[in-house]
Amino acid sequence: MALVAWRAIFAETLFKCVVLFIAFGLLMSLAWVRLDAPDIALAEAAIGAGITGALMLDALGHVAGEPADRSAGDMPLPGEAPPPAGEPLALVLLAGVGGLMGLLGLAVWGLPEVYRGVAEPALAEVADHPVANAATVVLLDLRAYDTFLEMAVFLVAALGALILKARAIREPRAIPPAHGSEMLHAVAVWLAPLMVLVAGYLLWAGTARSGGAFPAGAMLGAAGVLLFLAQIGRGQIADTRVMRLLLSIGVATFLVAGAAAFLSDRAFLEHAPGTAYAMIVLIEAMITISIGVTLALLYGASALDPRTPEAEPTEERAPS
């Protein structure tokens, strides 16, 4: 894996670099499984390797100009090769990085023999919690505050992307070649509902087994991207009032839950006794929707050139 990372860093073309990055993400998700972290593996495969990769490929396409045959992105890039090893700058850098790695290594090596764990007190609570998946409990009950802020970060990123997109220079550009591919369209029509179903399952499973809001949201987002590529229902994916509502529903639910807790004399985001299970499932469903929509939008915001409104009527397909 380290080898793939190395090759990705020094790949001679950008395209190779991005593809190797995706491969790296997949290897990472294997590593997660080996480390008994199936939740993270799911999220990594969908988000790390899938969506980030798609975004990068797309940005690369944008920056490198029209399709690959203009070869801008395919040539060895000037100034891209690492400085030759003899250069003092490179040596200093290498020494610095080596020192950093050494420190990290010492830190790991010097860990106490017995692992006390940050979670010791928390684990006691996890054990008799109605929701059986430990990671879910931590995310949505014990450390709900973090998750709340994370959703806020996510929302801000999406808004930023949307704002920049709205202000982007309006130059006509070719849409990805998927345009008009019947095969893609057919596949998307069949696959998207299935993906939504899988997302629902992951969400539900998250309370007991591995799964949960993040993998589910990623799945939903991937379905959105697929629909996007196949250009189905572009009108719905566009930046509309409904979209904005869905975008913020996760944060909004958190806020309402927090406020309700305040009103009944509990700490922010502390669930009332007995309602924890219901609350968690509810919040999880809401943030799943938000994550899915945000991911699709992030892709959409950067993928499509900002000339959707005029194109809309022609994009409507026959109901299928």
Partner: protein, 109 residues
């Protein structure tokens, strides 16, 4: 050493290697996409280290708190990446450049 400890060590070592390599790559890379890729993999190295250490927890199950942190981290990294890519597009649209260095060794047009 038990099997578990060896596993932890292997993954921690891999994490440190990835981290170090990406820090170096990040510093020498010029093209911004390359830098963003490096940043992402740097994050992955940190996540890997966290989860590898989480595996040291006693009992059959790893420590869920680092797991939750990593899940959160992945999503935050994604949003940051997406935002960075959008900014990069804007930079490219506005100036035609794909790196932040001077014009002399600017990336490809």
């Amino acid at each position: 050493m038990t099997d578990q400890e060896i596993t932890v060590l292997i993954y921690a070592a891999a994490a440190i290697l990835v981290f170090g390599a990406t820090v170096y790559g990040f510093l020498v890379a010029r093209h911004l996409i390359r830098r963003i890729v490096c940043l992402n993999m740097m994050g992955a190295g940190v996540f890997l280290l966290l989860v590898a250490v989480a595996r040291r927890a006693p009992g059959p199950d790893p420590d869920p708190v680092p797991h939750a942190m990593v899940l959160t981290g992945i999503v935050v990294a994604l949003s940051a990446t997406a935002f960075a890519l959008v900014v990069l597009r804007r930079l490219y649209d506005a100036t035609g450049r794909t790196s932040l260095t001077g014009d002399d060794d600017a990336g490809p047009r």
